[in-house]
Amino acid sequence: MIKIDHLIKRYGANYAVDDISFSVGEGEIVGFLGPNGAGKSTTMNILTGYLSATSGTVTVGGLDVLENPLEAKKLIGFLPEQPPLYLDMTVDEYLNFGYDLKNCTLNREKHLAEICEVVKITDVRKRVIRNLSKGYRQRVGIAQALIGNPKVIIFDEPTVGLDPKQIIEIRNLIRNLGRDHTVILSTHILQEVQAVCDRIVIINKGKIVADELTENITRAVESKRRFNVKIAGPQREVLAMLKSKPGIVYAEALAERDGDAYTYMIESEVGVDIRKNLFYTLAEKNWPMIGLEALGMSLEDIFITIVDTSEEKKKTRGRVSVEKKVAQSVMQSTAEKQSRTEEDKPDTEA
């Protein structure tokens, strides 16, 4: 549905987007992640024809956005970072304007009523946008993007400024849209991507650093386990035991102390549930385990590590952390995927 090929956007000597290539299939929901200034919004603006690219091509539904802008834009509904609202209009007037602007041919009353129902703004339709709260304004912006039932919907940070209940509603909405639309959304809230997207594209400093299915990343995250264990017993011996125990790949004594109990952080091997085994071992040695806490490794950690690794700023501290491993595996698979598409290219051209 969407194909971005070697896209470059340069401002002077500054590359906002530096040779990005990826494609999005029909009905896919893709999360576009990246720290501030990574080039997310720039990419989206090029995708929607608001900005032009320095080089590279963008096609939407087979239409080149630069060469055939009018037709391509008809396929796209766009919610920019700041919803483009005319504050002096009422919601109804605004949506009608959007309807006219997009040369929509669907039944006006019915279509607009449906959209308002979907984003839950029916009860504010007669109100002036200036007087609406941030959350409602955001929803009016989303409603605008849905006018004309476009095949591709692009949201730039759709849930900013919404309250938690609204955020969940909007996420459900996006997920529902994903059934018969192609959706790209940019965000820096990771749970959002995890909750909504089929695929995650992470971009940093204008380059794609990871492009992976959400479930693959989640699986990678879950396959390694990490715990904080509180064990009453002599610290040095306990640590030595933990380090030598099969199934544990890493153990570290933490500074925390509770009477004669010390806290240790351990990482188990992939696919091994170390907990029961550890309990019996400790019981045998008569070192009571008085606390066991599973440390979740969140997508946040992965994300930060991927971004850091891509910048190669932080040097690896002695050990390779689990995040790092996952990050590396994700990045590697992305690199492979991209090189594979590179290799494919001459074939298809030939």
């Binding site: 032009s52 920019p80 483009p84």
Partner: protein
């Protein structure tokens, strides 16, 4: 394109600006008309139109200042530029909306001439020597000629305002710059009386919008002037389109 035109027209009438413009325009024109005709006991309207053209210095920026600058400030231009509308269509829609407002008020202000015709009728009715005085009264051809001229000058000024508005996101800056440029376009002709050099005078007179107006003032349809004013409008509308094109590529 029509959607944007409609939106702009609506925006003039839901904000104070449209009403302020109409009120100021009609007030000035009524006052000037009284002053130049009734007060002076004359049916001659040329002075009225000349003063009205000078009044456009203040009036035109009211119409054009927010056309693009506000969209840019509120980021609503993103909606327009990502919609299936060409940049040319967008610029033309806004230009035409401003021109519609302008032409509308100019036509409404024609009501000012009614008292002149009425007075002329009464004077003729009261006069026994009707044959001699039958030519008494305002000259309709001159009025129409002046109206056409004013509409054309206004169109040229609006195109300047549209262009300036596209350059800045500050309405005030847009308004003041537009005023300055329109004022310069009107006053530049005055330099001709000081400068001796023929070439310089030729160039200046080319830029002087008032010089072209003279024939309309006599009720003569001047084709050269028509082309001249339309060209100015086209050039500035074109430049506005280029501003948007360039920003996309920036």
């Amino acid at each position: 394109m029509f959607a944007i035109y409609k939106k702009e027209m609506r925006s003039y009438f839901i904000n104070a600006i449209g009403y302020v413009y109409i009120a100021v325009f009609l007030a000035i024109s009524a006052f000037v008309c009284c002053f130049t005709t009734l007060q002076m006991q004359s049916y001659e309207v040329s002075l009225y139109f000349t003063i009205m053209i000078c009044a456009l210095v203040v009036l035109i920026p009211l119409l054009t200042m927010k056309l693009f600058s506000e969209e840019r400030k509120l980021r609503t231009e993103q909606l327009l530029l990502t919609a299936p509308v060409t940049i040319t269509g967008m610029v033309m829609a806004k230009f035409l909306a401003a021109f519609t407002m302008f032409a509308g008020t100019v036509l409404v202000s024609c009501i000012n001439f009614y008292p002149l015709y009425k007075l002329a009728d009464e004077a003729r009715a009261a006069d026994e020597y009707a044959e001699i005085t039958s030519k008494l009264g305002p000259n309709t051809a001159i009025i129409v000629g002046n109206l056409v001229g004013v509409l054309l000058i206004g169109m040229a000024f609006i195109s300047v305002g549209v262009f300036i508005s596209a350059l800045t996101e500050n309405q005030l800056v847009a308004a003041v710059s537009t005023m300055a440029i329109i004022l310069a376009m009107i006053l530049v002709g005055a330099l001709n009386s000081i400068i001796d050099n023929y070439v310089v005078r030729f160039i200046i007179s080319w830029f002087s919008v008032l010089d072209r107006f003279a024939n309309f003032g006599y009720g003569i349809f001047d084709f050269n002037a028509l082309v001249y004013y339309l060209s100015i409008s086209a050039v500035f509308v074109f430049l506005t389109i280029r501003v948007y094109e360039k920003r996309r590529w920036g």
